[in-house]
């Protein structure tokens, strides 16, 4: 049945999105017995002038919004299992000659000087480039050319980003914040997801925080931990780009394994040898192009253990320094 012919009482009871949508315009019908159509027609022109949209525009927007919500609920969007990058050319026009498939649950590090073309690569993936960007790259999803309209779908954004200079700006507590994100993703069991995310974030963070801590007062490490856990559980994007996770205040190994468990395609821009060797492979970017892809070797994996022990020794020194001890002996 046409939405305009249903009563307001019926809509508010059975379609809470209608109330949310009208509420955004400050509209709150007091009389619930009449149909939405009649009620909207009864509003004076002056009212529409005030809310900055006419009745036709309002109805069209409502219908479009409900349609999108419906498609979301019915799981209409195709699942992303893998993404393939088909090489284009670097800044000098040299062909990349590459076909690289990134599967869910894999970790790839990206190395190369700043300005070498990391953002361009990410932008190509995000835009699902079809030889129509400066690099001439093409992106396949599940081995096929994606529908170009998907470029504009919020649910189908391929890349989620986590970088060092990101901060929380909203004035909410941790629990409210995560719940708000869960609502927008139309998650069923919101309370359960919120609890899980806060628990997982606390396992990543050095110092614990609670559900009612304001997000803006989290420390750097705690913020990063919450962002990672939230992205792992609630972001719709299959690819997660991490820009250098700093060593302080967060368990980096655990953070990566959480993202892998949640089947993310993890890309990690880093110059830290420990992080780089934790990845299954690394992409070397140079002069705007993917120069090489190196699979982490067995020898490298063995060296990782050595590097980690260096790191732990440094960490222990930091703790001693913080505690006001002398550092006259180095282990």
């Amino acid at each position: 049945m046409n939405i305009l012919e249903r009563t307001i009482a019926d809509l508010y009871e059975n379609m809470p999105q209608v109330a949310l949508f009208l509420g955004d315009y400050g509209l709150d019908p007091l009389e619930r017995g009449i149909t939405l159509g009649l009620w909207l027609e009864s509003l004076p022109d002056e009212m529409y002038e005030d809310i900055g949209i006419d009745m036709q525009g309002l109805v069209e927007n409502l219908e479009e919004y409900l349609l999108q919500q419906l498609m979301l609920q019915s799981g209409h969007l195709p699942v992303v299992n893998e993404i393939t990058v088909i090489g284009g050319r670097d800044k000098s026009g040299t062909p990349e000659q590459l076909r690289l498939t990134l599967t869910r649950g894999s970790v790839t590090s990206i190395v190369g000087p700043t300005g070498s073309g990391k953002s361009r690569l990410l932008a190509d993936i995000e835009w699902m480039a079809q030889c129509d960007t400066p690099t001439g790259r093409a992106i396949l999803v599940n081995g096929e050319k994606p529908d170009p309209e998907l470029r504009f779908s919020l649910e189908y954004k391929l890349v989620a980003q986590l970088s060092q200079n990101m901060n929380f700006v909203m004035d909410t507590t941790v629990a409210e914040f995560v719940a708000m994100h869960a609502e927008s993703r139309m998650v069923e069991n919101i309370a359960g997801v919120v609890e899980e995310i806060i628990m997982q974030a606390n396992q990543l963070a050095g110092e614990p925080f609670s559900a009612d801590t304001p997000v803006t007062s989290l420390s750097g490490g705690q913020s990063r931990a919450l962002m990672i856990a939230d992205t792992a559980f609630l972001s719709s994007s299959p690819v997660v780009l991490i820009d250098e996770i700093e060593n302080a205040g967060i368990d980096r190994k655990r953070a990566l394994s959480l993202l892998v468990r949640r089947e993310k395609i993890v890309l990690m821009a880093t110059h830290d040898p420990i992080l780089a060797l934790m990845a299954d492979q690394r992409m070397v970017i140079r002069n705007g192009g993917i120069h090489r892809v190196i699979t982490t070797t067995e020898r490298e994996k063995e060296n990782l253990t050595v590097l980690e022990s260096f790191d732990n020794r440094l960490l222990a020194l930091r703790t001693r320094l913080r505690n006001g001890e002398l550092i006259e002996e180095v282990p």
């Binding site: 955004d24 069209e60 927007n61 479009e64 400066p134 504009f152 901060n167 914040f177 993703r185």
Partner: protein, 233 residues
């Protein structure tokens, strides 16, 4: 020539985004010009000029910049033709929340930033609600979750628009936005065209320069606040 109207709250990143778009357009051999409509003062013309594009600036002074825009856009359009432009990008300061420079049949863009808070999209008037493309900037400084929540709020405010993320500093996303501009409809003449949403005229005596307070000085279209009973705590 293709006209594009770009509006958005102050400092939301309109010029930064357009700079990225212009670079990409120039690289593909298109001739671009810019217009900037503001209230009191602007430095945007210098930025556009430094990119090598011709600019005109219009300052509305004590008028609403969008009213000023409608009364002057035809002349600016003629200027664009005289310069032999392929694209004329018109940036307006979105200072009046009630008005928007968006015209039927002309590509309309609204630029807003992630720092404004999740409830902002619903508070922004026709400049957001009647835009074809909503560009969201400053995604580099807020969390992924806030970006996602913000974009969903924008969609509720304008479900028909295409939502694009552009970074005004690195230019990430600007080339993609430019590719959308290439599909904009041609504008040959605006005589007889219509705004997407009406703009209220100068309404009350204060619009006309009245400064004295008091009933007797209030003329024209006056609207009274509705005070409600507040429960006593």
């Amino acid at each position: 020539m293709k006209l594009v109207t770009i509006s958005g709250p102050p400092s939301s990143g309109k010029t930064a985004v357009l700079a990225g778009v212009i670079r990409s357009m120039i690289a593909s051999g298109v001739k671009v010009g810019a217009l900037k409509y503001d209230c009191l003062t602007t430095d945007d013309d210098a930025i556009f000029r430094s990119l090598g594009v011709p600019v005109q600036t219009g300052l509305s002074g004590n008028l609403c910049p969008d009213h000023y825009f409608v009364s002057n856009i035809e002349e600016c359009l003629d200027w664009g033709f005289s310069q032999g432009l392929d694209f004329l990008l018109s940036e307006s300061a979105g200072l009046c929340n009630r008005c928007a420079p968006h015209i039927k049949g002309v590509l309309a863009v609204c630029v807003i930033d992630n720092l404004m808070g999740a409830t902002t999209p619903k508070k922004i008037g026709p400049m957001l609600k009647y835009a074809d493309i909503v560009v969201i900037t400053k995604g580099d400084i807020v969390s992924q979750a806030e970006r996602e929540v913000f974009a969903f709020q924008v969609r509720r405010a304008n479900p028909k628009a295409r939502i694009m993320h552009v970074n005004g500093i690195t230019g990430q996303g600007a080339a993609e936005l430019a590719s959308q501009f290439l599909n904009a409809p041609e504008t040959t003449c605006l005589d007889g065209s219509r705004l997407r949403f009406s703009m209220p005229a100068a309404l009350c005596s204060y619009c006309l320069g009245e400064t004295r307070i008091g009933m007797e000085h209030q003329l024209g279209n006056i609207k009274r606040i509705k005070l409600k009973e507040e429960p006593i705590a």
